[in-house]
């Protein structure tokens, strides 16, 4: 199964034709790093459109919630149940608890970006009855192979999220500089002072997010990942548009022209100390 994020509801059919099986949308107050933040009232409209296009509908609920967010979590789960939404991405065990209270855990996909680094932790979450677990980005291809149980999911194409802070880091800097700059939702880039690569940085209501210098691209590894046993693949079009997603999908499913990106992460391995990596 290939799941993709989507910018416009009008492109559902294009994504389907290009090979998508499902789309992921953002919703108000509970999504982070999303392309749109639809009010809950629009979820039925998305569901209907996805049904018409023959696509499954998933929802990004990746925010780390405070107690004051839990009412929204319950509201979202109720809508998901009523609308027969296919799945909800989460990163906070509070959402898992709330879903279990309603016997809705089968809807959930755990996507904490960084925390899932071995097959036993994958199994821990799958045993909770959830649908899938997204593997940490920094894993090598070899490591992914050892974790490739049914229910494991990887990001095929798109920018990696490297850091999630609750702090408004960009506006704080401009405040320090006494500069008045509109930052909300805007992409800026960071260049470490001794390097040249650019890392996108975005501040929004939930905090600050930093992304990899280039998107991952898994065109060379796609078949191998499937042979290893990975059955769920995600494409994230953050900083792109739906045209990019269509082209990327076609490259995976129809031998189309690949989009730009790097597969370097599959072949490098992080270490525990400076000595490990020197």
């Amino acid at each position: 199964m290939i799941l993709t994020t989507i910018h416009s509801i009008d492109r559902l059919n294009d994504l389907k034709k290009a090979g998508a099986d499902a789309v992921i949308i953002g919703v108000q107050d509970l999504s982070i790093r999303s392309l749109q933040y639809a009010p809950f009232e629009q979820i039925p409209k998305w569901k209907q459109a996805c049904d018409s296009a023959g696509l499954k509908l998933y929802i990004n609920a990746l925010k780390l919630c405070m107690d004051e967010d839990l009412e929204n979590v319950r509201k979202l789960l109720k809508i998901c149940q009523e609308q027969e939404i296919d799945g909800v991405y989460f990163a906070d065990e509070g959402i898992l608890y709330e879903a279990k209270q309603r016997q809705l855990e089968h809807l959930l996909i755990y996507q904490p970006e960084t925390l899932i680094t071995n097959h036993l932790d994958v199994q821990f979450y799958l045993k909770q009855g959830i649908q899938a677990v997204s593997l940490a980005h920094e894993l090598s291809l070899d490591e992914i192979g050892k974790m490739a149980v049914p229910g494991a999911e990887v990001l095929l194409s798109g920018y990696y999220s490297l850091l999630y802070s609750r702090r408004p880091l960009v506006s704080n800097y401009f405040d320090f500089m006494h500069k008045d700059v509109d930052v909300n939702g805007r992409r800026f880039d960071l260049i470490e002072q001794t390097r040249t690569d650019r890392m996108p940085i975005v501040q929004d209501e939930t905090g600050t997010h930093i992304f990899s210098e280039v998107p991952i691209a898994s065109f060379q590894e796609f078949e191998q990942l499937k042979q290893m046993g990975i059955q769920r693949f995600r494409i994230d079009s953050m900083f792109f548009d739906d045209g990019w997603t269509v082209q990327t999908l076609k490259a995976y499913t129809q031998h189309g022209r690949p989009t730009a990106g790097s597969d370097q992460w599959y072949y490098q391995k992080s270490g525990k100390t400076k000595e490990d990596v020197s």
């Binding site: 904490p112 974790m147 992080s270």
Partner: protein, 403 residues
């Protein structure tokens, strides 16, 4: 008001013992395996055993961090390690991997399992989830504000632990792999290169928005929660945690001692005076090498809670000697030199039961009985005559204005 735990870090046995002596109810240490902070001189099992016995003799406890996010290759030997820790009699492990947590329970280990802050627990439902999994305590995310902590403690699901002092990850803990991507050093396996504290050009397309003289950085001031201790105690927080397993024994003694006095005063009187709050802050500042702020406890941190300039960090050399032994009636002590000092300088002394107070060095003799006017050889043992209170295991520092 329920008793509250003061939980201190320690990078080696000496520091752990100091933390206990200076008033920590519990210390947390990393073992040789499965722990973050790989640069710390982590504890062998025999050292953990020695520490558990030492702590027990002082009515304190030992928590062991088993908090790395293990990759496949790291899992070998986990069962044996957990059983060994159980045999030693530690009070708790702090774990981040749910497999590690549940494995400890499955093995029947008697120690408690505390859910690490790497899991960024920020709400009551998440705590309920961990309780259902059989866990014993949740270490809350540093991103929680006071009202949010109050809401979680009011629900009284599991005991919760909050950070009160020390370094702050700029990211939600565990949700950052900047170090991995920039240096291949795994932040979640103890290799964090602290890339967030580096300097960056901030660009809008091809236009630089940052000042080349004061580049963008994500470095945070350290946390200092003196103002919040009373509220934490009243809302029923179980444990107040100091961060910093890499910090010095002097730092630990100063910070632990200051919070110990504050907590004891609040337990005794139900509140702390403004004068004590101010004195506690002054004491703490004597050991800080980085500016401090309230973290998220007074709202979402603004630019005043971040560090943008290199000179925002300083090195303290005011700690001059450790009291190895003393004869109170003779006003004599044997001390180990830590940093250079002159006999005539103004000094302060503080110890396990001695709050910071002034003292005077009347005479210094080396091992051969030669009189000294200055000590400049760290680790040298000398004998002094001292005017003022004295205590074994106390620390002497220069009385210096840190303006």
């Amino acid at each position: 008001m329920k008793p509250i735990e003061l939980l201190a870090p320690a990078g080696n046995l000496e520091k752990a013992k100091i933390a206990v002596l200076y008033g920590a109810d519990a210390v947390y240490v990393g073992g040789k395996q499965f722990s973050l902070r790989s640069r710390a001189s982590n504890f062998s099992l025999s050292e953990i055993d020695e520490l558990v016995k030492f702590a027990a003799a002082h009515d304190a406890h030992v928590h062991v961090t088993v908090n790395m996010l293990p990759h496949e290759e790291d899992l070998e030997g986990l069962d044996t390690y957990l059983k060994d820790l159980d045999d030693i009699g530690i009070r708790a492990i702090i774990a981040a991997s749910p497999y590690v947590m549940s494995r400890a329970k499955a093995l029947g280990c008697r120690f408690e399992v505390h859910v690490s802050t790497q899991h960024s627990t920020t709400n009551t439902s998440a705590i309920r989830f961990w309780k259902e999994q059989g866990m014993d305590r949740a270490v809350l995310a540093r991103e929680c504000g006071m009202d949010q902590i109050r809401s979680m403690t009011a629900a009284d699901v599991l005991p919760v632990e909050v950070f009160i002092h020390g370094g702050m990850c700029i990211s939600y803990s565990g949700r950052c792999v900047l170090s991995n991507h920039m240096t291949l050093r795994d932040a979640n396996r103890g290799g964090c290169a602290q890339s967030c504290r580096w300097k960056y050009h901030l660009m809008d397309g091809n236009k630089e928005l940052s000042d080349p003289e004061r580049l963008f950085s994500m470095s945070s001031k350290d946390l200092q929660a003196v103002d919040e201790i009373e509220a934490f105690m009243k809302m029923g927080v179980a444990s107040l945690k100091i961060e910093g397993r890499m910090k010095s024994a002097y730092y630990l003694a100063t910070i632990v001692s200051a919070y110990r006095h504050l907590i004891d005063e609040i337990m005794k009187n139900g509140t702390a005076s403004e004068a004590l709050i101010a004195k506690t802050k002054t004491e703490i500042a004597k050991a800080e090498n980085r500016m401090t702020g309230p973290g998220f406890y007074q709202g979402i941190p603004g630019c005043d809670v971040q560090l943008y300039q290199d000179h925002d960090e300083t090195v303290t050399q005011e700690y001059v000697a450790y009291v190895i032994d003393c004869e109170l009636e003779q006003h004599r002590a044997t001390i180990q030199v830590k940093n250079k000092f002159y006999k005539e300088e103004a000094f302060e002394i503080f110890g396990p039961s001695l709050y910071s107070t002034e003292g005077k060095m009347l005479k210094i003799l080396d091992e051969d009985g030669n009189e000294l006017t200055m000590c400049n050889r760290p680790m040298q043992v000398v004998h002094i005559r001292w005017e003022g209170p004295l205590e074994k295991n106390a620390m002497i520092r220069k009385k210096e204005n840190r303006q």
